[in-house]
């Protein structure tokens, strides 16, 4: 039996439409018109115990909304989420005992008091026994290096420290499931690395199931065996990372500053299938290695155009999403 079952889940927000000006403001007082925002549109998937799943998509795709429904903050408009075959709707408090949540954008620590107090209160909130607490607390402190600021006020912590603390706080009750909504946003490389290692280690040590949203391709590559891609509230892809990388991984981007004398025709002549984009002062070439010999292209750029400050990128998650979306539209 899957640990998490998401069944035909939808969420529609109603936003009042407000006009400008006094007249229409008074009008909205009496008759409110609403605009429906369908943030999530009938998605379904199952997740097994011990999986690490990357849940990805562009901004506004509906990732956070899904996560919020999966942990009991939001009530679905339609469909349901079952955890251990229990509806999150009907058994919120019971299920909260089994899950830990970190939102990169919002802290759940008690703000004006020393960090250690947050852990103490969570111990009583989740009814963690003394021995379990001791074991967990020391484990997390070592894993995330929290000792040095444990007695500091939370409001005085740096973003990196705060995130690590938030992460530890969400795990103190040994949850079966950990939801991470952009846990590495705004962090420097070192902290990102630490958090990734901690996620891996936790999954190995406690077999914790992790669902993670992120914009950082490296997070996904290092952690996730499976990814679910969502766009405009619908699932575009659900499967392992390997096959999607196989499908799109051969796509490269080259970016270099625009200069006088650059001719699109020259590139097109070399290979029709290179797409050329102008981004502010830069030129971006995208192509698949299946169609283009990278060395030959570089020879043109370096040899003929004498470009020496260019960058080569792998395709990012935004582009994969875009591609998938385009493909989806075509097949319709």
């Amino acid at each position: 039996m899957p640990l998490i079952e998401v069944k035909n889940l939808s969420k529609t927000f109603k936003k009042p439409i407000r006009g400008n000006g006094l007249g229409s403001m008074i009008k909205t007082l009496f008759s409110r018109k609403y605009q429906d925002i369908e943030a999530v549109k009938g998605i379904s998937f199952n997740i097994e115990q011990g999986e690490i799943v990357g849940y990805i998509g562009a901004n506004g795709a509906g990732k956070s909304t899904t996560i919020k429904m999966m942990c009991g903050i939001l009530f679905p408009s339609e469909g349901e989420v079952l955890i251990n075959q229990k509806s999150v709707l009907k058994h919120r408090k019971e299920i909260n005992q089994e899950i830990g949540v970190v939102f990169g954008q919002k802290t759940q620590l008690w703000w004006d008091i020393p960090l250690i107090e947050t852990f103490k209160i969570l111990k009583s909130v989740y009814r963690v026994s003394d021995e379990d607490f001791e074991e967990r607390f020391n484990y997390l402190c070592d894993l995330l290096d929290l000792k040095s600021f444990m007695n500091q006020n939370v409001r005085s912590l740096s973003l990196g420290q705060r995130m690590r603390a938030d992460f530890a706080a969400s795990l103190i009750h040994n949850p079966k499931i950990l939801y991470l909504d952009e846990p590495t946003i705004g962090l420097d490389v070192l902290v990102k690395d630490k958090i990734r290692k901690a996620i891996k280690e936790l999954n190995r040590h406690y077999n914790t199931t992790v669902i993670l949203t992120t914009h950082d391709m490296k997070d996904i590559e290092e952690l996730c065996s499976r990814i679910i891609i969502i766009d405009k509230g619908k699932i575009l892809y659900d499967g392992n990372l390997e096959s999607i990388k196989y499908q799109f991984g051969n796509i490269k981007n080259i970016v270099f500053p625009f200069f006088e004398g650059f001719k699109e025709e020259r590139i097109k002549l070399f290979c029709e299938k290179i797409t050329i984009e102008k981004l502010e002062n830069n030129i971006k070439l995208s192509f698949s290695l299946n169609d283009v010999d990278l060395d030959a292209l570089l020879l043109i750029l370096i040899g003929e155009y004498k470009i020496n400050d260019f960058k080569i990128f792998d395709i990012g998650i935004e582009e994969i999403t875009k591609e998938l979306y385009a493909q989806n539209e075509e097949t319709k």
């Binding site: 939001l74 949540v101 939102f103 759940q108 004006d112």
Partner: protein, 263 residues
Amino acid sequence: MRYLKLYFTYAKLSLMSKLSYKSNTIIGIIAFLFTEITSILTLFLIVSQVPSLDGWNMYEIGLLYGITNLAIGLDHLFTDKLWSVAYFEVRNGTMDSFFLRPLPVLFQTIACEIQLEAFGEILTAIFMIIFCSMNLNLVISFGNVLLLVVGIIGASLLITSFKIIIAGLAFVFKRTGAYLQIVYNFAMYSKYPLNIFPRIIRFIFSFIIPLGLCIYYPVSNILNPSLNPYLLSILIIAITAIMLCLSIFIWTKCAKRYESTGS
């Protein structure tokens, strides 16, 4: 029992964070003390010009005022967070973490803040009660004192119930602070003897917002016994319990509409 213990844990943290802004808290208490003292002085000034307000003398009015303020202060001390729920917590989506803990949302909302400013009200209220009692011939009996205590707690819980209902409606309407303000201000009139008001207001205070029932009648009774204190106590307990259950029910229903915020 578990909830009581948890309540104290939450309260301790709230006090700790209040104390990390010591000067703010002290200024808050002093500000409330000042407001209270000025309004009491105004009251005495007015009452001393009019020798008798519908049969109530200055000290009797002072006693009623003090007792009402004690009830108001108690509610203020324990449930101040409901104001910010009504005004902005729901609208700004800052209640997410309450929905993540294995505890009732309402419990966490109330437990997470102790409002020390309320001591401004509570202290002046106690002072008024003692001062006025010393100048009055109170009919102190077990029944009358019990009725008074039940009345104060009942009135306090009634105010809380109304706050819970209106703050709960914020889950549906996003922002209900202004409505809460209206009802709250109206409730403040129960500081004055009921029978100086027109009949309609008397009716509201006896039956719709039954604060009058909780305070006016018990105070009248200790001044001039005419009612059975035990029966009245039972009535107050019953009404308060019903209102409290109703408010929790409405809150719980509305909380399902919580929408958080988009990023």
